[in-house]
Amino acid sequence: MDIQFTEEQELLRSSVQRLLRDQYDFEARRKIVASEEGFSRKQWDAFAEFGLLAAPFSEGAGGLGGGPLSTMILMHEFGRHLVVEPFVETVVLAGGLIEHVGTPEQQQSFIPEIIDGSKIWTLAWTEKASRFDLANVTTRARREGSDYVLTGAKTVVIAAPWADYLIVSARTSGDDRERSGVSLFVVDRRATGVDLQSFKTVDGRRAAEVSLRDVRGQLLGVEGEGVAALEACRDRAIGALCAEAVGAIGELNSATLEYSKTRKQFGTTIGSFQVLQHRMVDMFIAHQEALSLMQHLSLSLSLSDSDAGLSRLASGAKSKIGYAGKFVADQAVQLHGGMGMTDELNVGHYFKRISSINIQFGDPAFHVLRYAQLDAAA
């Protein structure tokens, strides 16, 4: 099994590659991360112009119908260039939820503004005590007329400082950790009662603690069935994050291999030492396995919408690719020696992105356990 890209997919890949090669080298990225806002509106507009923000959406929704495979193609390249712009948050998480559970009116009102780059979105699901449990929700929503009113707090919401809209999970019924009773709401980030405390993340992004006090929200999807929607959303996010991780792993391996062929110690290149050769062989194997699982997952995501088997595969891939990424990142830093520890070299930044991916939506240990439990349940 090896994905043969169609002409359209090949075109998407070469256009995003060209765009990033021309405009998103490591120095350009450094400037973006250090800027006041922390991401580039100009890049975001370029993404829109190149059709990247439209790629995964169905044609009915105004997209290019590329689905999860186009997400994989884009995210793989974003991983190679350490792109910080909120593609996952806006297109994969929010866009995916709106497309899958939103009403036709909501789709018509929100998706075009995502595609043309004018609105940025993110998903606020994590809470202080939730860890990686989508159902552990204490934020409350009560009905008021045709709207709902939300009160609670969300934590470490990536891209919230950049966002125009948040999709917030809140409890409309049930106890704090109950699976049913969680609903999703569209909240205007600038609405009265929304308060953000922003901070920088390890991997050069911006995030915020979000507090909500009597904030008006619009229901997205079926009331009380938000967890199922979030689970499918997480599966798609995992597909995207895995592709990003594989892109980063590939870059780390190339950089390490190159370095080991040029760096000399003890009168020879360090790549001539057997202990390092074997290390790099293991890094190569980790990359190959991760790449294969990435394709397997994205293909499966493109073939079926949501079922237990797919979700289990997503957890399996998140875990396996997570451990592979951690191994490669550790070794890439180690083999680069002191240079790997510097802010100046890109290696440490790949390390930090991979270690952040390994937290987002659950760490590898969480997902291997979920993988095991879903098997037991089957």
Binding site: T126, A129, S130, R131, F132, D133, T155, V156, I158, Q197, S198, F199, K200, T201, V202, D203, A207, E209, K264, Q265, F266, F273, V275, L276, D330, V333, Q334, G337, G338, G340, M341, T342, D343, E344, G348, H349, F351, K352, S355, S356, I359, Q360, D363, A365, F366, L369
Partner: protein, 393 residues
Amino acid sequence: MELKLSPEDAAFRDEVRTFIAENYPPEMRVPNPETDLTKEQSLLWHRILHKKGWIAPLWPKEYGGPGWSVTQRFIFEQETSRAGTLPPLAFSVTMVGPVIYTFGNEAQKKKFLPRILSGEDWWCQGYSEPGSGSDLATVRTKAVRDGDHYIVNGHKTWTTLAQHADWIFCLVRTDPSAKPQSGISFLLIDMKSPGVTVRPIITIDGSHEVNDVFLENVRVPVENLVGEENKGWTYAKFLLGNERTSMAGIGRSTRYIGRLRQIVKAEIPTEDPAHLEFLRDIARIELDVLALEATELRVVAQMARGIDPGPAASLFKIRGTEIFQNITELTHRAIGNYGLAIREHPVSANRFMPGPDYGHTASEKYLNARKLSIYGGSNEIQRNIIAKAVLGL
């Protein structure tokens, strides 16, 4: 694990414990002492220890050491690290000091040793160069004799806390025609000399610990040569030996495991399956520490009988650093989603940092600890040392 102590040693341990409890400066108890203290703040404890006569446990009494036995030195090390005190600057006290009193002349001893003890002089280490990391013998920084001076040119790197330093001890090449190890000399250079430039290197945790040090036509008086010209490699190896034995870090690891245990208790409810996983992972690390500590105690007992552990000391560097890396990684994992946040440097109380206080340094510690398996002779090099010098391979 405790040593079986004689009544005298037990009394000494109690004395050390009480002294720390009563005298360790509260202003040094910051979230991350290695990055959050000013130079003056980080010297507070140094000065207190100096006044007490405890600043240099390793040093012979005639040079200002306390005259302790091997066991007492070990007890002191154990108590201070368990209490989480910031150790006095190793480059001064543990590294260059012993080189000066072992290989230096009388004038050098008289000039430098008291200032090291008092904390008046801050030393940094000019060993590594861009082309000389693990392979230190290839240093290229040149020192050319010109009358009563050496003219030094070169580029040192990874120089820890050079931004604070008054002096740098350097490996320099004085005989370019000799075999790599034979043409090196050990030179003491005043950081205020014209031609010395310090450039910060920011590391992946955002902190400024290490630097590039550029030496451009720096004039160094010949009297600052330690020992004999071209014998510097011998002194350098002597110094590195001192560096490695102190790397087991049992006290520090024990302290961080305690903290990790509290974080897991607070963050992960017992009904979460991750809770049990963490307990198991913590237990495994604890056993790693226990085994390393038992090994350390065994070596201390041997040293007390006059047996030198020799190159087996590399074992402490390898395992000590691997263990601490594992602890920081597990701590970073334990704080869950908050692991995505990191403090900005320089640290300021005005900047917002999310999550509970105990998690605020988890990300930076995790990132910073990646250096441990690289510096002081990478763990690959340490394994080579054991393979060659211990196993005879």
